[in-house]
């Protein structure tokens, strides 16, 4: 199959490109392992995914609680820095891409064809420094360096832990990933179509909501707490409606995110956890302008949206499952990309789009160094923003299967060999025929972490 030059980028590629841009390679932190002498497997089911011990450590403000935590107990030369990157070989295959019939001749007209680039590649570089500034003050700084060299701040926050001596009161401030038990930042899969929980980034087609999803780190304040074995957890965050972008680009409104989880033991099976979450916010639909250009920070016409649902983490011997459900809603003005002060622009029969989505992810941990992964995820629009939008626009199904083998998992560093295959079907987004658009991704590579 010949590889043709891409003249026009279809919706499906836009989605993929967006995901690649927003999805950070996930992380595990050998700096912590080095500090305590514990192996990666003590905190991670299989890094980067956390087990309950690691989650408790994180919730305690990166402290083990054995009186040896504060940096004052470490020699001053100790500095917690780690980095992670994944050199890999991958092959992407996307059917129904619109290409010029004759390469190079825009006038020859567009046809749909399958394109399949492949080769050696890099996933970008994660550098993280995190730990304790002092007893019960933790921090996290993560600059993000993209594969092509662009940089940004992925996360930067400070957390005051165990206020008034209580685990139930911790206050975090900065730019941080939302408190999710099933974390996008610690996803076990890496391929371009498999490296994201699509539910965490979904916006219906044609929607103008600045908010891209609960998988994006946000700016704000989080109050959280947990029981001493982390079986009961809560968090409430107040976030600026900037979708995590610095410089106050949007409006002056605030969103609220909350998460509540409860874990319990089932004898012989293991730890089970259920939780509910909700992100309730407002986004601006228009701005003050000067000479027609919007002025950042003056967002007006706020209209509401939410993403809410439930999730579970189930351990059954060597298997563990993660189940997730989301119900999403955007206000009719957001859904139709119409400013709130121009109601007449709304098409007839316009409504706030709603959708349901979820995924099931299964792991088989043969031993802490060999984990098999399988996931199925779907999104179904239940109400489109207006009748002219096809009923299935935005629907998607993805399947991912892979395994990770960790030949090296010492307190010093980690190395994993990864193979993964993932497939996504976007309903009806093929640019010309309007049929389903299918992308496959196969990846294999070395994921290392120091």
């Amino acid at each position: 199959m010949g590889i043709a030059a891409i003249k026009r980028v279809g919706t499906q590629w836009l989605l993929v490109a967006t995901l690649l841009a927003v999805v950070r390679p996930a992380y595990a932190i050998p700096a912590f392992a080095r500090k305590y002498g514990l192996p990666c497997s003590a905190c991670h089911e299989g890094w980067p995914m956390l087990n309950n011990f690691g989650q408790t450590f994180k919730d305690n403000g990166y402290q083990l609680g054995n009186d040896r935590d504060a940096p004052i107990y470490q020699q001053p030369a100790y500095w917690p820095v780690m980095f992670r990157t994944t050199p890999n070989w991958h092959r992407e295959s996307n059917d129904r891409v619109a290409v010029d019939k004759v390469p190079g001749q825009a006038s020859s007209g567009l046809v749909e064809t399958t394109i399949s680039p492949s080769g050696f590649d890099l996933s970008g570089l994660d550098i993280i420094t995190a730990g304790t500034l002092y007893n019960n003050i933790s921090f996290f700084v993560q600059p993000f360096i993209g594969a092509s060299g662009g940089t940004s701040i992925a996360q930067t926050w400070v957390r005051l832990d165990n206020l008034f001596g209580s685990r139930w009161l911790n206050v975090k401030m900065g730019k941080f990933e939302l408190d999710e038990m099933i974390s996008q930042e610690r996803i076990l899969t890496l391929s371009s179509t498999g490296a994201a929980y699509y539910n965490y980034f979904f916006t219906p087609p044609g929607d103008s909501n600045i908010f891209r999803g609960i998988g994006i780190p946000q700016l704000g304040v989080e109050v959280s707490g947990h029981s001493d074995n982390d079986y009961t957890r809560y968090s409430v965050s107040v976030l600026s409606s900037n979708d995590g972008q610095t410089g106050l680009p949007a409006g002056n409104s605030y969103d609220v995110y909350t998460n509540f989880a409860q874990a319990f033991e089932i004898p012989r099976l293991g730890l089970q956890r259920v939780g509910v979450y909700g992100y309730f916010g407002q986004s601006a639909t228009f701005f003050q302008t000067t000479g027609g250009q919007p002025i950042p920070g003056t967002g007006m016409g706020n209209r509401g949206f939410y993403r809410a649902g439930a999730y579970g983490q189930w351990y059954l011997g060597k298997f563990d499952f993660q189940t997730f459900y989301m119900h999403g809603y955007d206000n009719v003005f957001l859904g139709n990309a119409v400013p709130a002060n121009q109601q007449s622009q709304l098409p007839a029969g316009a409504a706030g789009p709603t959708w349901n989505g979820g995924f099931v992810e299964a792991h088989y941990t043969y031993n802490p160094r060999l984990i098999g992964i399988g996931r199925y995820e779907l999104i179904r629009m239940s109400r489109e923003a207006n009748p002219s939008i096809r009923g299935s626009a935005g629907n998607l199904d993805t399947w991912t299967i892979g395994y990770r083998w960790y030949p090296i998992m010492s307190p010093r560093a980690g190395l994993a060999w990864v193979q993964e295959y993932s497939r996504i079907v976007n309903a009806g987004t093929a640019p010309i025929s309007g049929k389903d658009d299918i992308s496959n991704s196969f990846l294999m590579g070395l994921d290392f972490d120091f």
Binding site: Y36, G37, L38, S41, A42, F53, G65, N66, R68, E265
Partner: protein, 262 residues
């Protein structure tokens, strides 16, 4: 016919086989299984305590105090007299609570079943668990209320029992003999600084302190005072030790709220 032979064979193997993976542990109503404990040990414990349970994991050279050598079956935090094996619940409590001021964290985030499985596996590292039975737990009588007289008696005992020679006159761990102390493996060890706010290694309650004085911390220079002191006298010493500790209200309230094995 064939099945009967295999039943006999299985019976034979069961009788003859005495592998360490046959160890069981009992804590409350929980029963631990050593085979499950082995998988957990390899995930959580092996880097410090070593594949053979001898305390020589990869991280051990960088740790102080050193991780416990399970092959000797000598444990600091027990409720049994000095020289005796610990009870299963002692090992379970140590795993749950961790050992303060050491590299051993609290493993409370593990489920109770996981912790009792680990106890079963750990017992397999030393043949002593098969050859001996632990002695009966020491009795901890009710604590009498503290009083200036009790503290004064405790201070006198602190002097006459020679506690000060290691722990120092103010309990700072700087007594004349302190610099010479080594643990039973020959590693240098410092006496506990009673004046700091650090929680006691084996649990921070008054009952825990009474128990530590009665059982001694095996494997360290800290002896058992069960022969030397009567229970009332040990409570006097406990009351005196409280006056040595740095005033730290939140530490005390946290200590009193510390639950037993959960």
């Amino acid at each position: 016919m064939r099945s009967r032979i295999s039943f006999a064979m299985i019976f034979v193997f069961l009788l003859l086989g005495q592998s360490s993976l046959g160890q069981e542990s009992h804590v409350g109503t929980l029963v631990g299984n050593a085979k499950k404990g082995k998988a957990l040990y390899q995930r959580y414990c092996i880097f410090c305590h070593g594949a053979d349970g001898d305390g020589r994991g990869d991280s051990a050279p960088y740790l102080d105090p050193k991780p416990r050598d399970f092959t000797k079956a000598t444990f600091k935090c027990r409720s049994t007299p000095s020289g005796s094996l610990p009870l299963d619940s002692d090992l379970y409590d140590t795993i749950t609570r961790g050992v303060h001021a050491s590299g051993m964290p609290s493993w409370k985030p593990l489920t109770r079943q996981e912790r009792v499985d680990l106890v079963a596996y750990i017992k397999g590292f030393s043949p002593r668990f098969q050859e001996e039975k632990p002695a009966a737990a020491v009795v901890i009588p009710a604590e009498p209320p503290t009083s200036p007289e009790s503290v004064k008696r405790g201070a006198e005992l602190f002097q006459s029992m020679n506690c000060w020679l290691c722990h120092g006159k103010e309990g700072r761990g700087n007594g004349p003999s302190a610099s010479s102390l080594t643990d039973s493996k020959g590693n240098p060890i410092t006496p506990f600084d009673l004046s700091s706010g650090t929680r006691f290694k084996c649990g921070d309650s008054d009952q825990g302190l009474f128990r530590d004085l009665t059982t001694g911390l095996d494997g360290t220079p800290m002896p058992s005072f069960s022969d030397a002191l009567k229970p009332d006298q040990i409570w006097d010493v406990v009351h005196y030790i409280h006056t040595l500790r740095a005033s730290n209200k939140s530490q005390r309230s946290q200590a009193q709220a510390e639950p037993k094995a959960e």
